[in-house]
Symmetry: C2
């Protein structure tokens, strides 16, 4: 059932620029559906319910786990995050050709375990110094949270071998060009286009 949709996982340590790259990629590919995750963490000032996340209570999240509503879920920084199976159906209803998942390495691992055609992209900062600078300068979190996120970043980066592609976000346009390229390449995979070749042979 999952072989027709391109399942594209974007993952990165905090501060590598994944959110900006995700939005820009979605602007370029109207055929991609953004999978809106559920989370128990509080919304940030600029986040919109149902667009960035479905913000739910811990008891609601746990009920969904018990119902089997999630394709993947994990606890990160003391909060729960999950991808509901309903997102796949929504992408199909909307006539999309792919689903983009913005998840951490635990989510990536679970999605890839369930859907063999899923493609994982890991976004890296150009350096650890630059990562620290970005985490500090975005002014979204307090000092303790920043310290935790930086420590977590190293742990995230250790999981790079989970992924098919690595994009270094040294320059937004360059990184975006590579992400676009990955979408084009994955859409051009032989098994996705075998029917076209067979069509020519039966003409």
């Amino acid at each position: 059932m999952d072989d027709d949709l391109l399942l594209l996982i974007l993952s990165s340590p905090s501060g590598a620029g994944k959110t900006t790259l995700t939005h820009r990629l979605l602007d370029d590919f109207a055929t991609l559906h953004f999978s809106v995750s559920h989370t128990t963490r509080k919304p940030r000032a600029n986040e919109v319910e149902g667009q960035d996340y479905h913000f739910v209570s811990e008891s609601r999240f746990q009920a969904m786990v018990v119902e089997g509503a999630f394709a993947e879920w994990a606890s990160v920084h003391g909060h729960y995050y999950g991808t509901s199976i309903a997102e796949f159906a929504r992408a199909r209803e909307l006539g999309r050709r792919g689903v983009l998942f913005d998840v951490d390495y635990q989510g990536a691992r679970q999605i890839r375990a369930k859907f063999r055609s899923a493609v994982g992209v890991f976004i890296l900062p150009p350096s650890m110094d630059e990562l620290e600078r970005r985490l500090t300068s975005r002014g979204l979190d307090d000092e303790e949270t920043i310290r935790q996120r930086f420590a977590k970043a190293r742990e995230e980066i250790e999981h790079y071998p989970f992924f098919d592609y690595i994009v270094v976000n040294d320059d937004l346009q360059h990184a975006l060009g590579e992400l676009r390229g990955i979408v084009h390449a994955e859409q051009a995979r032989r098994w996705r286009r075998a029917r076209i070749a067979e069509g020519l042979l039966s003409a």
Copy 2:
């Protein structure tokens, strides 16, 4: 020895637009070295020795086969075609990051058998009618040659499962965008960038 260079094979039936796409792709990627094949066929009016092909006699070609000078060679339409091993050294001397091979499915098969990281792209025409129209309208060949090329095209297309990617050349810009994407994606493969991730972890 071959793992650092991106080995990109472009193949297609005659008339699918491969030559134009190859030239445009090389214009975009100065990091790609075009592998100049040897052939025993006569140069066409617009072809330049040492740039499009190395045009050699049949006896010279056979001597090179005996010397083991070829990474791959084959007989197509009654002429010999081959990729000399010297092309890899030349790409390295020029500091290129990849080599582009314009070969038929037999060449693709042999290169992939020798170099496991080689990536194969097969370019298809949008339809068999359009292919016939293009073979006729380019005015390069006589009627008998066109008939042979069209019959051969079907045989070529049957080999599409040899390739990693399929690009349909319905629109030059669209096909070129996909080819560019494939180069970007292959350069972003995790194993090519593992050293970057390890560099961050050892910082």
